[in-house]
């Protein structure tokens, strides 16, 4: 498996901030990283390991190893790329212990997380790695619709601010220039936009409880 696409320079996000904080001694920062990446790591491991019950365990071990190895993370790769490698290695080791065949990965398509995944694990045999039931496809469309509705209902300044951030990847400073307002206003607009979108879709997401990953 090849790690996810490495951007030329990292996007502004919280990872490096939190990693540095953790290295400076604040363990709580790592909690936030775990929360951020837990589901994604579980989905990744779930595609490699057929034993559904082993996944949370392997994910937990991944994060423990990452926490211990953090001093060696040099920040030359993106944090998730580094975490990805640890997850893959942890899963492989566990599979060998469980006496499964060594994995042969053929990079195939890129899934919704942007992670490459092998078609080897796609055949339906009780456990479907894709888990694309008609219900889940419909749910996805409904959620997309709800997000678009929420966006359309936002006041224009808030809508533009969140779009420039999430669709164009602009920093707050760049958005402040584009919108002709102080950075504090940009921060507030993005916060309120997130709250509004979240309020609309949260009930739908909670409805999805019970499905694995």
């Amino acid at each position: 498996m090849t790690p996810p696409d490495e951007p030329v320079r990292p996007l502004p996000n919280s990872d490096s901030l939190l990693v540095q904080r953790c290295l400076d001694g604040d363990k709580r920062a790592f909690d936030l990283l775990v929360i951020k990446y837990q589901r994604r790591v579980e989905r990744l491991i779930g595609r490699m390991v057929r034993d559904v019950d082993a996944v949370p365990d392997i994910a937990q071990e991944t994060f423990i190893r990452a926490y211990r190895a953090l001093p060696q993370y040099r920040g030359d790769a993106q944090f998730y790329t580094w975490l990805y490698r640890i997850a893959v290695n942890t899963a492989k080791k566990r599979l060998m212990v469980m006496k499964r065949d060594p994995l042969v990965f053929a990079p195939d398509t890129v899934d919704e997380d942007g992670d490459e995944t092998s078609s080897v694990w796609r055949e339906p045999r009780g456990y479907s790695a894709d888990n694309e039931t008609p219900e889940s496809v419909l749910a996805s469309r409904e959620i997309a619709q709800a997000v678009n509705d929420a966006m359309a209902a936002l006041p224009p300044d808030l809508r533009t601010a969140i779009e420039l951030r999430e669709l164009e990847g602009l920093s707050y400073e760049a958005i402040a220039l584009a919108q002709g307002c102080p950075i504090g206003t940009v921060r507030s607009r993005i916060f309120r936009a997130r709250e509004a979108i979240s309020a609309r879709i949260q009930p739908m997401l909670e409805h999805q409880t019970g499905k694995r990953w």
Partner: protein
């Protein structure tokens, strides 16, 4: 040791349907084609008239990323644009219709030239009598949000493999082009030009731009050394166009320049959308060249020896097209 209790409700436990890719050309809703390619392109040209806007433009070509700040203003007779580089060397380019000046701030040189391709004549590409509908077809998609605007997305798909395809987003109200992708035969994106932010109806002063354009104090003014010329005798121009590309113009340096440079002819071709340049010069014994084939984003480069000539073809078209144009071009002695 941090605690890892997964306290979040299982909100992540649905999966997105994968948006399937059919062939290379995507799933644009097959809505009725509203008008021809010519008509649609006229509208994008028209959209640049009579309005002002400003924005940040990002161009991605292969590994290169270039960013600039753009100002545009246009009245009934005059169109002006200013482009300040935000990446790479400090440059300011100002255009007034087809007159262009580029201030290189680090070198304190101002390069001036005339660019024919920027005339205000509508549907210029029809001058050869060719309609772009012969070469491309239009496929309309829906609306997406780009740079904070509603944008209609459209694909221009080539009828053959001799040219690239395009995917274009235009602002829903005004038709201003916000984003443009150049696509290869499989629908892969070769290059993208896009505003990351765009303010329509911004107040841009044409007078200020004109003043700035004239002010060359402290800069050495260098006009372009190349002049439009007649086609060299060794170049063949078939009456009918080649692969849909027509001969547009030819440029050469004055005889007084370094003989090596003045012997080179810059022949320009276009299919109405894509531009190909073929540089032809006699091979010199003292300057060995190696044939190359490279690319820079959508721009392909093919250089080779053909008879006694060294031919460098480059343009926003597939390499095979460059090859054939190069070979077709030269009269063997």
């Amino acid at each position: 040791m941090p605690h890892f209790t997964p306290l979040i409700p299982a909100f992540g436990r649905w999966r997105w349907a994968r948006w399937a890719v059919v062939g290379g050309w995507g799933l644009l809703a097959a809505s009725a084609v509203a008008g021809t390619v010519d008509d649609w392109l006229s509208k994008t040209q028209e959209a640049t008239r009579g309005r002002a806007y400003t924005g940040t433009l990002v161009v991605s070509a292969g590994e290169e990323l270039s960013v600039s700040k753009v100002w545009h203003v246009c009245d009934r007779t005059t169109q002006m644009e200013r482009v300040d580089s935000l990446s790479g060397p400090a440059r300011t380019t100002i255009r007034r219709n087809s007159e262009v000046i580029t201030f290189a701030h680090d070198k304190k040189i101002a390069y001036t030239d005339q660019r024919e391709s920027l005339g205000l004549l509508p549907m210029r590409w029809r001058a050869n009598g060719e309609s772009l509908d012969r070469l491309y077809r239009l496929r309309e998609g829906g609306v997406q949000r780009v740079a904070g605007h509603d944008a209609k997305v459209v694909e221009l798909l080539p009828h053959d493999a001799s040219r690239w395809g395009y995917r274009i987003w235009t602002e829903a109200q005004t038709g201003v082009v916000i984003k443009l992708q150049t696509l290869d035969g499989r629908g892969a994106v070769l290059e993208q030009v896009a505003y990351t932010e765009l303010q329509l109806g911004a107040s841009v002063s044409m007078q200020a731009l004109e003043q700035r354009m004239k002010n060359t104090d402290g800069y050495v003014v260098k006009p372009r050394a190349l002049k439009k010329s007649t086609w060299p005798p060794y170049v063949r121009l078939k009456p009918e166009s080649m692969l849909g590309f027509s001969a547009m113009s030819c440029y050469q340096r004055a005889e007084t320049d370094a003989p090596a440079l003045s012997a080179r002819a810059h022949c320009i071709f276009s299919d109405g959308l894509a531009s190909v340049s073929v540089f032809v010069e006699p091979i010199r014994a003292d300057a060995p060249f190696t044939p190359t084939q490279t690319q820079r984003g959508a721009t392909q480069v093919v250089t080779q020896a053909l008879g006694p000539y060294w031919v460098s073809a480059m343009g926003e078209a597939p390499p095979e097209t460059l090859q054939r144009l190069s070979k077709h071009l030269l009269l063997q002695p």
